[in-house]
């Protein structure tokens, strides 16, 4: 039995603790906002937070999150009100959208640690999350805009 929380809700699951968190979230809990794309931690589409730290859910076994707090894209806000979601909407960042959960969760972790990131901070934080549609420059602008929104307390 593995006990942990997902988006504030306690989960007690009796499944193989070696199962990657990604498939626990998607297939067991039905939280499909976290995406599968590479399965080997090289694309970042499956990024979630474990105790606030961004991790690759595709290579994180369930056992690693025992008694920890997992946050997924669904847990960011109830109404798209997180500053990053708002900035993402204003700048119409997504195209196909498949990588965007991973992009946003990575950006959330960046802003939590570094409220006013420079271009090179953003490069460093975001370079592990791949996008095939080329939304990178809009993501950069959206992160900067969200940082401003957060600074204003909006």
């Amino acid at each position: 039995m593995t006990s942990f929380t997902v988006n504030g809700e306690t989960q007690e699951l009796d499944i193989d603790p070696a199962t990657p968190l990604l498939w626990v979230l998607r297939d067991t809990l039905g939280l499909t906002g976290t995406k599968y794309s590479c399965g080997i931690a090289v694309c970042g589409a499956c990024t979630v937070h474990v105790d606030g730290i961004p991790v690759r859910a595709c290579v994180t076994p369930l056992s690693a999150v025992a008694n920890k707090a997992v946050t997924t894209i669904e847990g960011l806000s109830k109404d798209n009100s997180h500053p990053l979601q708002r900035a993402w909407i204003v700048l119409d960042v997504p195209q196909c959208g498949y990588c965007q959960s991973g992009q946003i969760m990575t950006a959330v972790a960046l802003l939590a640690k570094n409220p006013k990131p420079t271009d090179s901070d953003i490069d460093q934080a975001m370079s592990g999350v791949l996008c095939r549609c080329g939304t990178y420059s809009r993501i950069r602008r959206a992160i900067k805009q969200a940082a401003e929104l957060k600074a204003k307390g909006a």
């Binding site: 193989d16 199962t19 990657p20 498939w23 998607r26 297939d27 067991t28 039905g30 939280l31 499909t32 906002g33 976290t34 995406k35 599968y36 794309s37 590479c38 399965g39 080997i40 090289v42 694309c43 589409a45 997924t72 894209i73 669904e74 960011l76 806000s77 798209n80 990053l84 979601q85 993402w88 909407i89 119409d92 960042v93 997504p94 195209q95 196909c96 959208g97 498949y98 990588c99 965007q100 959960s101 946003i104 953003i122 490069d123 460093q124 975001m126 370079s127 592990g128 999350v129 791949l130 996008c131 095939r132 549609c133 080329g134 939304t135 990178y136 420059s137 809009r138 993501i139 950069r140």
Partner: protein
């Protein structure tokens, strides 16, 4: 209708069948049947006089629901298409709702003759019919209001979802008028707005799908949920053309959660309660393959085969003057061999399809670009008629041509039949990379002769490569030419008196398919780089050289000059930087790009790209910008990184570690400039891709003096 300047009057009865009818709850339904542009389409149209359908529904609560025939794969059509309708219907934009259309003859793309999202055709195909439908709806609503108020129709106006009669100050919402409008017949003529009157078209409109894509609620194929849904993975022969000999499923069946191990046409499937159990089961499979005749095939042999093909006489794609005679007599002759490798699509969402087959019905939930094809494949496998095969199209996590294929649909349908339960077939990233329909690898020999002034007198381009259409649609091969193999080469715009473009079909073992911008994605690279070689041989500036040769092509010239001007072509650059330029016409649009690159310590970096696009009339300008950014990044991936190689009959690459994509920190600064135009709309999903590889390669050539004759670019 006095708020309109009436010029473009059309007769909907002749141009496209329109029909109004009532829906339950007091709504108005406007259906229409599209006239088809090609022969295949005409045949299909003859088979059905009028297909009743449900394109547009206006409900009593003012909601306007549009069923969009095209798949949303990032290119923004689920916003651009409703904009076309809303512009002419003059409804309230906030009340627009989009539904993805099912697979049905009613939704055939008139430019393709199938329900298929490809060739950058969506806006071009639906530009006129959807505006006509909107105008007809508006006219019906006005007439309904005039009749109920017993006033003159000409005194009524419509706008923002309301019909007004200013003399009596009466007003009614579209929703209130819908039931009455449904009893009227479609007007014999409708009047379309002049571009100057557009309120929505041409203005940046936020995408309707964005809010769903920032909180995980957008449903992609991978995200489909159904009661009792099983998940399947398939072990396929790693060697092209290989077949299953035998397998031992005992180990797989012993994995908790595994329900069944089934041999299907493409390999051995493991079906389980979830993906992880299925994948564990697959790892425990023992499969013996008959690897067939290609188990020793490698990339070197493929190249040799293309070399031999280049020695054969090709089929003529275009000929003017006598290029060979002029070349043979030329004092100065320039020759080069250019090549492009296989490239993978690498959609972020790997291929997948969910299917459920019952005794008398089949239902698919699939991220597909090709609904007609998906339905057809399911009909063939199940033996069911079209009206028993329902296709639900989800959002697509990238398409780029890969999702026009049906291999994953066929697998899912077979598995759903075998299991008697709904099955979600999931490809891993490695499956996706190793069993793609690749961009064709081609080899090209180019020869040119220059006149005394350095301008080309003769140009000969011989291409050898595999044919996409030979597999997909052999009937479209005309006089031996697959147009997708020569597009971007045969339509060379430069004024060259003696010109010859030929093609040798050399179908290899690796399957090939449509890859964003198709033939132009490599032919623009090849022709635009060779043109820079000619300019260099002539001692001319590559921009001025192009200008001199494009006098008769104002739209090419327009984007070329705009890109050059905005990029500061000819102005000094910091040390270590260089510029390259390229222009290409593709999918009805014209695009030029200037790339600014730096080469430091053997590392190439694309610093800046200035892009000028002329795609005729623009529907959603921010989407055009996004699609240029997107097309550039997609093309850069193949120009700088992506290469599929084959060893022992197998694709050597499997994931993003060995088939890398462009990363965030490698993203150039991109500036997009849109040409103002009143021309008919062109495509936008693909035209951004062709110019980027040659623009970058030409910048490298400018820096190093060495032409880049092979992709990906190595410095």
């Amino acid at each position: 209708m006095n708020d309109l300047t009436i010029r473009e009057a059309v007769n909907p009865g002749r141009r496209s069948f329109l029909k109004a009818s009532a829906v339950a709850g007091g709504g108005l339904l406007i259906g229409f049947h599209l006239p088809l542009a090609n022969r295949a389409g005409e045949a299909a149209a003859a088979a059905n006089e009028f297909v009743p359908n449900a394109w547009i529904r206006i409900d009593a609560d003012d909601t306007v629901t549009l069923r969009v025939a095209s798949s949303e794969m990032g290119q923004g059509v689920h916003t651009a298409v409703p904009m076309l309708l809303a512009e002419e219907l003059d409804c309230e934009w906030a009340r627009i709702k989009v539904e993805m259309a099912p697979a049905d003859k009613a939704y055939i793309n008139p430019l393709i003759g199938q329900q298929l999202t490809g060739g950058s055709t969506t806006v071009r195909a639906f530009w006129t019919p959807l505006r006509q439908a909107g105008a007809a709806g508006r006219s019906l609503l006005i007439r309904a209001a005039a009749q109920s108020w017993k006033v003159n129709e000409e005194e009524c106006r419509a706008g923002n979802g309301v019909v007004l009669h200013p003399p009596s100050k009466r007003r009614a919402r579209y929703g209130e008028l819908a039931a009455q409008a449904a009893r009227l017949s479609i007007p014999g003529e409708v009047f379309l707005k002049e571009p100057g009157e557009f309120k929505l078209i041409g203005k940046p409109v936020p995408r309707l799908d964005t809010p769903l894509k920032v909180n995980g609620s957008a449903v992609f194929g991978m995200d489909v949920k159904l009661p009792g849904l099983l998940v399947a993975v398939v072990e396929r022969c790693p060697v092209f053309g290989g077949q299953l000999k035998k397998f031992d499923a005992a180990g797989a069946r012993a994995v908790p959660g595994v329900r069944q191990v089934v041999a299907i046409h493409s390999g051995v499937a493991v079906v389980a309660d979830g993906f992880w159990a299925a994948q564990r089961g697959r790892e425990a499979l023992v499969v013996i393959w008959d690897e067939g005749g290609h188990a020793k095939l490698n990339s070197t042999a493929i190249r040799q085969r293309l070399e031999r093909a280049l020695g054969k006489k090709g089929v003529t794609a275009r000929t003017e003057g006598d290029a060979t005679k002029v070349l043979n007599a030329a004092a100065k002759r320039i020759e080069a061999v250019y090549e492009a490798p296989y490239a993978a699509h690498a959609c972020m969402e790997p291929m997948n399809c969910t299917a459920q087959v019952k005794k008398d019905s089949c239902e698919l939930w699939v991220p597909t670009q090709a609904q007609t094809g998906a339905q057809f494949v399911a009909m063939q496998i199940t033996g069911l008629p079209a009206d028993k095969v329902k296709v639900n199209t989800t959002f697509l996590g990238g398409g780029f041509g890969r999702r026009a294929e049906q291999d994953f649909v066929a697998e899912a349908v077979q598995l759903a039949m075998a299991m008697g339960a709904p099955v979600k077939l999931v490809w891993t990233r490695e499956d996706d990379m190793r069993h793609d329909y690749y961009r064709p690898a081609t080899l090209n020999r180019l020869s040119a002769a220059l006149d005394k002034g350095g301008l080309p007198l003769a140009w000969r381009h011989e291409i050898a490569g595999p044919s996409i259409m030979a597999r997909v649609f052999p009937g479209s091969i005309n006089n031996g030419i697959d147009n997708t193999s020569v597009e971007g080469a045969a339509n060379l715009p430069y004024a060259i008196p003696n010109l010859h473009v030929s093609w040798v079909m050399e179908n290899g073992v690796a399957p090939v398919g449509f890859w964003r911008s198709v033939g132009s994605s490599q032919n623009a690279y090849i022709t635009e780089c060779f043109l820079d070689e000619l300019a260099a041989a002539a001692g001319k500036d590559p921009y001025e050289y192009r200008r001199a040769l494009l006098i008769k092509h104002p739209r090419h010239l327009g984007v070329l000059e705009l890109a050059a001007q905005k990029a500061g072509w000819g102005t000094p650059l910091p040390a270590g930087r260089s510029r390259g330029i390229a222009v290409a016409e593709a999918f009805g649009s014209f695009c030029a790009q200037v790339a600014e690159v730096s080469v430091e310590q053997g590392k190439l970096r694309v610093e800046r790209v200035v892009c000028a696009i002329d795609c005729g009339m623009v529907v959603n300008p921010d989407t055009v910008v996004a699609q240029m950014e997107s097309g550039i990044v997609y093309g850069l991936g193949a120009a700088l990184k992506g290469e599929i190689t084959i060893k022992n009959g197998r694709v050597e690459q499997g994931n993003f570690n060995d088939y890398p994509l462009l990363r965030f920190d490698e993203m150039p600064q991109i500036e997009v400039h849109i040409v103002k135009s009143t021309e008919h709309p062109g495509g936008v999903g693909e035209p951004g891709t062709p110019p980027i590889a040659p623009a970058v390669a030409n910048a490298v050539f400018a820096a190093t003096g060495k032409p880049v004759r092979r992709l990906p670019i190595r410095v």
